[in-house]
Homo-oligomer: 130 residues x 2
Amino acid sequence: MPKFTHHIFICCNQRSAGSPRGCCDPAGSEALRNAFKAEVKKRGLDPLVRANVAGCLDQCECGPTVVIYPQEIWYGGVKLADVPRIIEETVLHGRVLEDLHIPDEKLNTKPRAATQPTAGVLFDSFQANC
Amino acid sequence: MPKFTHHIFICCNQRSAGSPRGCCDPAGSEALRNAFKAEVKKRGLDPLVRANVAGCLDQCECGPTVVIYPQEIWYGGVKLADVPRIIEETVLHGRVLEDLHIPDEKLNTKPRAATQPTAGVLFDSFQANC
């Protein structure tokens, strides 16, 4: 069979509480990944669309973080409620969701401020930080 | 900064002993990922080359499995000794290593035989199966 058309990696990394970089999955529940997996299955997109657990994607300041390959589309601040529209818009129609998109200049920049104490703060301030 | 030039995902999935699909990291040691990480660091390729832990990449029969994005290069039967030449040949020079390469027709085919009882057997018979 062909390669995956969309290989979606969802950061499920856990850091210790209070890490200055934040954490994409502080509860360690893999809830976001499970939501992607369920949506892919519901729409009959498997096996060529895959929602994969990933360790730290190194964009913690923008978390929860997701990357879709081979399209190289990075999303940050992703919430459970965003999953259906990511599948609908990006996977099925090739449209990048600008409100979630992490632009290149924000990738691979490591910690940008020392005042980002919790994942919750990072999550709430995604637009400002990423 | 730019996106990753090479985002290397190494399957670190564990299955229960005796799983018919085999397992890419039966010891749960993440040794292969750690070898990639060390090689990337040694050559000063970070942060734009990244060796990432991944959950099951769903090509278990060809494991231990690695995929490099956005190039979409799949490797199977990867041993620790292969790590330096993957970095040298594929990451630095863009050459696909044919002895490790999983061709498209072998991807996403799920179990192909009921007689593949252990990761060791799968590993040893990579060329025949994948």
